[in-house]
Amino acid sequence: MNHDVLLEVEDLRTHFFTRTGVVKAVDGVSFTLDRGETLGIVGESGSGKSMTALSLMRLVPEPGGRIVSGRIMFDGEDLLLKDSSEMSVIRGREICMILQDPMTSLNPVLSIGNQLMETYRSDERHSSRDLWERGVDLLRKVRIPAPEIRMRAFPHQMSGGMRQRVVGAIAISRMPSLIIADEPTTSLDATIQLQYLRLLKDIQKETGAAIIFITHDFGIVARMCDRVAVMYAGRIVENADVSELFYNPQHPYTEALLGSVPDLEQDVEWLTSIAGQPPNLDDMPPGCSFEPRCPYAFGRCVEEYPREFLVAQRHRASCWRLDDTG
């Protein structure tokens, strides 16, 4: 194994068992992530991007949801073989998650200081003074003005941007090697979003953490990520370096998705839109899941899910059009 690889996910499948059938939320996802690298996972709602993130944390909602197969090699160890107490240690220290809504991820009845110090309280004994100073330090790191005063504040006394910074502070408190950010800025305004994204970049530079961005916003991907994985109906359909994906998309879904995003830099008369809806995850077509909406679909697409083709170095796509063997 390469030294730089932090995370290697192989054929991950997370299924939900319901009365009406099996919902294949994540259905054979594989990717790798190097140390310090930023990966964007893009897709629409229901594409399985958030469920992939929860599977990495082993936080799939139970009962009903289950990781049915695959391997998640994190730092050389398979997370799927860990028991729950080992996992909870990894979750706090090695892998951290920043969720979409800072209002629900902070406890409304605890002061900011309490919530920051909580992360340190669990392990060795610290004096309360030491804990307090660590808390102030964290707030300073995420550039919250007057951190000593903010330590005593409660979440409702802060604006959305500030709260999200506090969530960021908690996430980096243990210097994790992987941060999973699930739509971290969707509830923020544009100018605040930019402040926050810059902060995340700075934190990454400082700590060397790898980041996985779960998003549907190509703007964030273009601004923040080194690599992108595009998900559709539970599978990664294309995976490439950022500029390669944007300027040389190979999968028809990626191509269509990029064409449907309005451009800030120029006037566009009409956007290309993708007809139809994503398929139901409990009733997937046997062939390529994008086939019903694909303008290039041909006979083979209906019968068989395309395997992954290597387009260029570090650029893979699952589409039968790339098959030149026959």
């Binding site: 305004d189 100018t191 500029s243 998705l257 800030l264 830099e265 993708i274």
Partner: protein
Amino acid sequence: MTQVERHEESAAAEPLIVAENVKKHFSVTRGLVFRQTVGQVRAVDGVSFSVPQGQTYSLVGESGCGKTTTAKVVLLVESLTSGTLRFEGRDVSAFTPDQLTEYRASVQAVFQDPWSSLNPRLKVESIIAEPLTAHRRLTKAELREQVLSLLEEVGLHPSHAYRYPHEFSGGQRQRIAIARALALRPKLIVLDEPVSALDVSIRAQIMNLLKQLQIEYNLSYLLIAHQLATVRYMSHKIGVMYLGKIVEEADSHDLFDNPRHPYTRALISASLSSRPGVEREEIVLTGEVPSPIDPPSGCAFHPRCPSVFEPCADETPVIESIAEGHIVSCHLYQQGGR
């Protein structure tokens, strides 16, 4: 109101709706029995704009800038504190009850969240028929016929009429909301963040549908949005709002290619480019939008403005026309300014 005069000259068509110096203040009260007014939230504080026929006028800005309150004023959901609203040249405040009913039929709305804007207990048929039964006298057969043709217009299947909202995806629900808004053949549709709750691939479908309907029926849109790329794609003219005021207004491409107000520039630079490798200057604003209860003195933007200078804190800038159809309210462009 130089702004309004200029509009009337330059717009190809006569403006359908004109807002002149519209203000909407909310009182902040304290006490349960002996109510005292302790402050005013100046949600909308002197906004003037006009929407020409068959065109889209957009209001952009961050949360709390008053864009949605302005939309509510146009929809007559909120009453005006001061200012006038003119519809087809007539003052809305002087309307008779009959004229008001007619106004309400001609001005419709599509909201952000199609999960909460459709009644979950009604079938799609009843949802779309509701405005028709309220305003028109139609037989059952006529009603049904109209509902089916509306469904077809927004790209839904006639069989969808007999289903409930929960059976549809977000994009389809937004189509139902659009069909309902179209039912009375309105002249103006207020679009409050019509696509921000939808998935990327669905957004383009809905935006294209709205643009097609606009051309087909010569509809005017008042679009409220915060995503600038969407606004650029949809609008003819754009007003940028900050703390209840329009700080800059220009034609769509002019505003993006040649933004003047420091806030507009910051807003555009903060909107992420949809492609990597596009070199742009990045203006990072410090701080957050101040409270509209106690707005900063002078220009409300001065505490966050990167090019702030002497007069900004003391004097309120006036609206200045700097090019054809392009106005800005900033000391940098005032007569005798820097």
